[in-house]
Symmetry: C2
Subunit: 249 residues, 2 copies
DNA sequence: CGCCGAAGCTGCCCGAGATCAGCCCCGCGC
DNA sequence: GCGCGGGGCTGATCTCGGGCAGCTTCGGCG
């Protein structure tokens, strides 16, 4: 992606994201990179964190897509959110000490493991980074809230458009989308489970969006043809993503 | 409602709640109480925080019930969550610096205002409390996730039972419910907006729950007649509420 | 080249839950 | 005592989205 000046290499997606919240010092950036030193790969379509499992690790997603979801007794699945590079995986499980949801890799992914004690240490020694983490967690919650509103009150069309626009914005933030399109490795089943629809109905909905000339989603790529119309349809307000320029704090 | 405790006597609901996460020292307890010194009343049915408003205060609810919700263009309302004593109001707005949702008092309430700089100071000087706050925020998010799953995948009956059980557990934690019942100042319209149902359908659902001998909700009071059956019906797993005994950390 | 499985796509029917319309109950003010 | 209004409650219809069944497309592989 676009090269950015940093200590030695390009900053991680997490650093890039947190920089939106606050201007980071060199030392803080370095600390963040150190936190993400322990890299590890994980294959597509496999679970990274399992509900009710004992060890409570958290990860920072470096590359690829993941999703968090819950399984129900009746076999249903609700995808809570997708994660893209720079996002935390299982931060909540770490704090609640019993993972209440599953996280699976959508594509092959690269993650950085963050051991609990490292995180605690970071919070103790770097209050500004602690605030930034709190911000990231709040942003995640805001996204979940937005999904809740979508499933609770928005029509399938509106909901779908909203989800796509959100993903677009999030990916732009970490440099993984251009103005009108982005690579989207989700299949219709997964996306449907996120939107609280059946794959069948999602398919029909996507067709409608296509026929209206708003967007297409084919072969792993989303193309947004008429962004203003999409925004209007979805009633999209991106305030909850807080994609502003950093401020001195 | 029990009158608010004097600062020297009983601990605040927040203290009580955080004590579940970690054992608090005297000094930390005192610090928490100090954080909540600035008390203020707010009348029922009025907004405390408005979407997109400029000032970003956060509050700790001391007494009464509140709810956070979003309004949609079409006039619809989605209640995201209810807040009971010990819960934060608008913590997310403070961090994102633009409130993305509304918070209204359900009953007459007493809140403690937490100015942004106070919070930042707390995080900087009391890392253990910072972790506890992160825990509380994570718990809130876990509840929102649970609601998302409910609205997305659970039937109205199951969803309703689940919500009631959750409220019961939360209220027990802060000493506002006994084993089989609790005071619930919500009306059916508000509850329906939380569950993503119409008030009409919620009414029918409540009737069913009543006829099955599981629970009743009348005149501001919820009575749970058959807790095990309710739990079974709702598939209620309270892990996400993390109501465990404190551990030494 | 042809088989096979996964994902995408579509038509048809049906049921859960929304919508509409209206009644009852109870507390309150005059 | 009586009218009024808000919340609770109910029956009758409508409709959106789910369920089912099946077809197409495409890529991998023997």
């Amino acid at each position: 992606m676009s090269p950015t000046p940093a200590s030695s290499a390009a900053p991680s997606a997490l650093t890039r994201k947190l920089a939106v919240f606050t201007t980071l010092t060199r030392a803080e950036e370095a600390r963040l990179e150190r936190l993400q030193a322990q890299r590890r790969r994980h294959p597509a379509r496999t679970e990274l964190l399992h509900e009710a499992q004992g060890d409570h690790a958290a990860f920072v997603l470096q590359d690829g897509w993941a999703m968090s979801y819950k399984l129900l007794a009746d076999g249903g699945r609700q995808v809570v959110d997708f994660q893209v590079p720079g996002d935390f995986l299982g931060l909540r499980s770490l704090l609640l000490r019993t993972s209440d949801h599953n996280v699976a890799a959508v594509t092959d992914i690269v993650v950085a493991e963050v051991p609990p004690r490292e995180l605690r240490e970071l919070v103790e020694t770097e209050p500004r980074l602690a605030m930034a983490l709190l911000w990231a967690a709040s942003r995640d919650e805001a996204m979940v809230v937005e999904h809740l509103v979508g499933i609770g009150r928005r029509s399938p069309m509106v909901r779908t458009a909203h989800q796509v626009l959100e993903l677009h914005q999030r990916l732009r933030l970490v440099g993984l989308a251009d103005d009108g399109s982005f690579a989207c490795p989700l299949n219709q089943y997964v996306l449907a489970d996120a939107l609280g629809l059946t794959a069948i109905h999602l398919n029909r909905t996507l067709r409608q969006l296509r026929e209206r000339g708003l967007m297409t989603f084919r072969k792993g790529r989303v193309e947004i043809h008429d962004a203003p119309a999409m925004m209007a349809l979805a009633g999209f307000e991106d305030a909850y993503l807080d994609q502003r320029a950093p401020r001195p704090s």
